[in-house]
C-alpha cells in the first residue's frame, strides 16, 4: 500500500462498499428505513442543509463556543499551571485537589452550571472551559515539574536573567507537552460541548440533532452526525498541524498516531 494512488483508491472503494451495503440494507428493509435511512437520503438532507445555510449557522455558533471555552482554558490554565509548577506551596495546596477533581465527568455539572448562568452562550463556554481547563492545568504543572533542570542551569550559567530563564527556556521546553495536552483538550471540549448542546438545546450542532430527533427527521439527524464528525476531523487535523508548527522540533515519531 505504498503508492498513494493504490492507497487512495482502496480507501474510496472501501467507503463506497460500506455505503452500498448500508444503502441496500436500508432499502431492502433489513434495517428499518424509518429509523436508519439509506445514505442517499442522508446525502440529500446534507445537501439541503448546506444549501440553506442551516449547518453553517449552527456550526459557527458551536465553534465559537468551543474556541472561546478553549481559549479561556488555555489562557487561564497554562499560566496557572506555570505558577503552580514553580511555587511549591501553591502546588502542594491545590494540585491534589485538581487531581481529585480530574476524573469527575464535567457533564455531570451541566445542570448545576445551567442554573448559575442561565441558558446562554456562557453556559457552554463555561462547561468547555471547565472540562478542558483542569486537564490543562495538570498537564502544565506536570510539564514544568518534568523540565530538565539542566536547561535552566545552562541558561543561568550563560548569563540569562530570571525573566529570560522563564520566557526563553522554560516556556519553549514545556511547549511540546502543552501542545500534546491541547490535542486531548480539543477532543474533550468538543464532546462536552455537544453534550451540553444536546441537553440544553438552543442553536448549535447539538441542537440540530435534537430538533431533528423531536420531529422524527431521521435523515436530518444522520446528516447532522456527518457534519459533526467532519468538523471533528477537520479541527483535529488543524490542531495537529498547528501543534507541529509550534513544537515540531520534537523528533518523537509515533509509530501510528491513533491514540
Amino acid at each position: 500500500m505504498r503508492r498513494p494512488l493504490i492507497r487512495i483508491s482502496s480507501q474510496i472503494t472501501a467507503l463506497l462498499l460500506l455505503l452500498a451495503c448500508w444503502e441496500i440494507s436500508s432499502r431492502s428493509g433489513l434495517l428499518n428505513s424509518r429509523l436508519v435511512p439509506p445514505p442517499t437520503r442522508v446525502m440529500d438532507s446534507l445537501w439541503v442543509g448546506l444549501r440553506d445555510g442551516v449547518f453553517l449557522d449552527d456550526t459557527t455558533i458551536s465553534l465559537r463556543r468551543l474556541l472561546i471555552g478553549l481559549g479561556v482554558a488555555v489562557s487561564v490554565g497554562v499560566p496557572t499551571g506555570l505558577l503552580f509548577g514553580r511555587i511549591r506551596p501553591l502546588r502542594s495546596a491545590f494540585y491534589p485537589l485538581l487531581k481529585f477533581v480530574f476524573p469527575i465527568p464535567v457533564a455531570a455539572l451541566i445542570p448545576v452550571v445551567l442554573v448559575i448562568t442561565g441558558i446562554r452562550d456562557l453556559l457552554y463556554v463555561s462547561i468547555v472551559a471547565l472540562a478542558t481547563g483542569i486537564p490543562m492545568i495538570i498537564a502544565t504543572v506536570d510539564a514544568v515539574r518534568q523540565t530538565d533542570p539542566i536547561l535552566l542551569e545552562t541558561g543561568a550559567t550563560l548569563g540569562a536573567p530570571r525573566v529570560s530563564l522563564f520566557s526563553r527556556i522554560l516556556i519553549p521546553a514545556i511547549l511540546p507537552r502543552i501542545v500534546h495536552a491541547s490535542y486531548v483538550s480539543f477532543a474533550i471540549g468538543l464532546i462536552v460541548l455537544i453534550t451540553a448542546e444536546i441537553l440544553v438545546s438552543t442553536r448549535g450542532l447539538g441542537h440540530i440533532l435534537v430538533l431533528a430527533q423531536r420531529q422524527y427527521r431521521v435523515a436530518d439527524m444522520f446528516a447532522g452526525i456527518v457534519v459533526i464528525g467532519v468538523i471533528g476531523m477537520t479541527l483535529s487535523a488543524v490542531v495537529r498541524a498547528l501543534g507541529k508548527r509550534l513544537a515540531g522540533w520534537e523528533e518523537v515519531y509515533l509509530a501510528k498516531e491513533w491514540t
Binding site: 536547561l151 543561568a156 550559567t157 548569563g159 519553549p172 521546553a173
Partner: protein
Amino acid sequence: MAAADERPRPMPTDTAIELDRAGRSFGHTVAFGDVSFSVARHSFVAIVGASGSGKTTLLRCIAGLERLTSGTARALGEPIEAPSPRRVYVFQDYSRSLFAWRSVIRNVAFPLEMSGVTKAEARSRAMDQLALVGLDHRADAFPWQLSGGMQQRVAIARALAADPEILLMDEPFGAVDAQTRMGLQLALLDIWQRLHKTIVFVTHDIDEALFLADRVIVLNARGYGLVLDDEVNLPRPRSHSETPVMTRYGVLRSQVLQILFEVPVKDPR
C-alpha cells in the same frame, strides 16, 4: 573573535579562582572537603578524581550552581555566589543542555542575545564561534541531527559565545568515542591557546588530564583535594603520539595514581 564588550570589570588579578578550605556536604554525606587551591589566569587546570569523588560538585560550586557548606571560593576577585557568564559551565550531558527548540546557530547565539546584542549581530558573532569549532556548515541544523561529538562542539561554541573569562568543563568528552575525543582535545587546546581563557577541566581520565593541563588537582576518594606539587610542565604543543611516551609523563602519572589511591608506588627509576 568577538570584540571586548563594555561590561565593567573589577581590577584584573593574576588569580582567576581561589578556593580556601572549600567543602560541600549534603547532610551527613561529604561530597568534598578541605580543598584549597588557586588557579592562575589563562592557565589550564585539570581536576582528576575517581567517580563519586565530588569533582563534579566541586566544579558546580565554582560555577555558582551550588553553594559551599564550608570554606570560601572566589573568582576574579569576588566571592562566588551565583552562576555568571564570566564563569561559564559546560555540562557533561550536552544532549540535555543544548536547547532542542533552537537550531545550532541559535543555540550559540543564546548568550549573545542574553547580553543585549541584537538578533542579527548575535547571529553573525555566533557564526564566528561556530567557525572556531568547525561547525559553521551545520549552522541551521538542529542538535538532534548531529553526532555526539558535534553536539559537544556546539555546546563549547555556545559557551565561548558568552565570552567568559573562565571556562568550567565537566567531563565534556566523556561520552564520545576515543577517536573523536582525541580530535576534541586538540581542538580545545587550540581554542585555549588562541583565546587565552582560563580553563578548569574535570575528568576521571588521568591521561586526558595530563595531556591537556598545566596543573593537575587530584581529588581522592575521600573527596579531599591534593594538588600535584609539580606543574605538569610537559612541552607544548602536546601530541597524542609523543607526549604520553615522555619520561616525565610516566612520573607524573604515577604521582597522580599515588595520590588518588593513596598507595605507595614503586619509584619508576
